[in-house]
Amino acid sequence: MSDRFDNRDASGAARDAAWLGGWLAGVALRPAVRIARAGGRAAESVTLGTVDLVLESRVAGEVVDRIADSALVQRGVGRALSGPLVEQIGRDLVRYAVLERVAETVLEGDLIDRTATRVLDGPELERVVDHALDSPAMERLVRRVIESKLLDEAVARLLESEELWLLVDEIARSPAVTEAITQQSLGFADQVAGGVRSRSRNVDDWLERKARRALRRAPAPGSDAQ
């Protein structure tokens, strides 16, 4: 039993010694780690600053222009366009449904709605329409359309279509139209009756005056007889 006790003490001491060693190493290396991190951040800043400097420099723009204008680049682009790369890109676009995904993303968003609303609500559309309607070109276009055989042909086909006459029948049978025709007919009859009534009243007054004069009676009260 004493041996067992001694073995446990030995392994515990070793574990404690390892932990202590690790802690001492961490403490000792902490400044070095900090220095390394600071160095990395400094190197990153320097690199980005250098890139910005290069990109904003006149020399870099000149270099890019020269490269773009160089025969090598033109030859490379021409080679790429004439080669199988275009077909490969097209196949990849189809294979990965790139266009469908882009279209779906555009349609799902409210970009189209916002664009349409902006166009319809904005003054630009009205201005463009006004300008188009006021332009002599539009007048010439309308005149040409009216004088063209196309319009005659369209009207002839429209008149020959059975649907047009069905539509005309439907409209003619509609209550609004029949009521309007009835009202107009009644209005005309009323107008005729009004004319007859007016003339007959004049004749009544004239007859009455003659009769009263023949009988030597005074004119009727309220009559305009002289």
Binding site: S200, D204, L207, E208, A211, R212, P221, G222, S223
Partner: protein
């Protein structure tokens, strides 16, 4: 802007109160003048009615006559049918005028020319009995050279003999929406 009348003093009063005050000062508002219709106007309206009555009677007679021509009836039956037709024609004519005069005061012809028959004292529609009396007297009074109609030319209220007997007058009936009262100024209402 308020509908209430505003006197010079600035105190507002209701339209009903203003009307009451005005009536107390000026008396009750005068009834709208009435225009009594003359002989020619009434004759035109009567001609339209006669055309309607006779057209309907003719249509019925032709229809019955064509149907009856398909059968060979004895003369006695024909005589009876003709007698029934005569009675029916008389009933149709009497019913036409009596019903229209006693319900709306206007026959279709009167409505077209815009005149109506009404009580001479109240201006209201007459009862069927008086309408019947008016029609019977009219039928009788036209027999001696339309003598019963001549008083229309000289009577102040343009009444014929049948109007005098039945206590009726014939007045203008302008549409309500015109808003203009019919009649000549100075004439007494009914």
């Amino acid at each position: 802007m308020s509908l209430a009348a505003e006197p010079p003093g600035g105190r507002r009063i209701s339209p009903a109160r203003a009307q009451a005050v005005a009536e107390r000062v000026h008396g009750p508002p005068a009834a709208p003048p009435v225009e009594y219709e003359g002989l020619v106007t009434r004759t035109i309206a009567f001609a339209v009615d006669a055309a309607i009555v006779n057209l309907v009677a003719a249509l019925v007679s032709v229809t019955v006559g064509l149907a009856a021509s398909l059968f060979d009836f004895p003369d006695t039956i024909k005589t009876i049918v003709i007698a029934i037709g005569g009675v029916a024609y008389l009933a149709w004519t009497v019913g036409y005028f009596v019903v229209f005069w006693s319900t709306t005061g206007q026959t279709p012809g009167s409505r077209l020319i815009r005149l109506r028959v009404c009580d001479a004292d109240t201006g209201r529609q007459i009862r069927p009995g008086r309408a019947l009396v008016r029609l019977v007297v009219l039928m009788i009074s036209v027999i001696p050279l339309f003598a019963g109609l001549w008083p229309i030319l000289v009577d102040d209220r343009r009444r014929g003999l049948h109007d005098m007997v039945a206590g009726t007058v014939v007045v203008g009936a302008e549409p309500a929406e015109s808003g203009a009262p019919a009649g000549k100024p100075g004439q007494a209402p009914y």
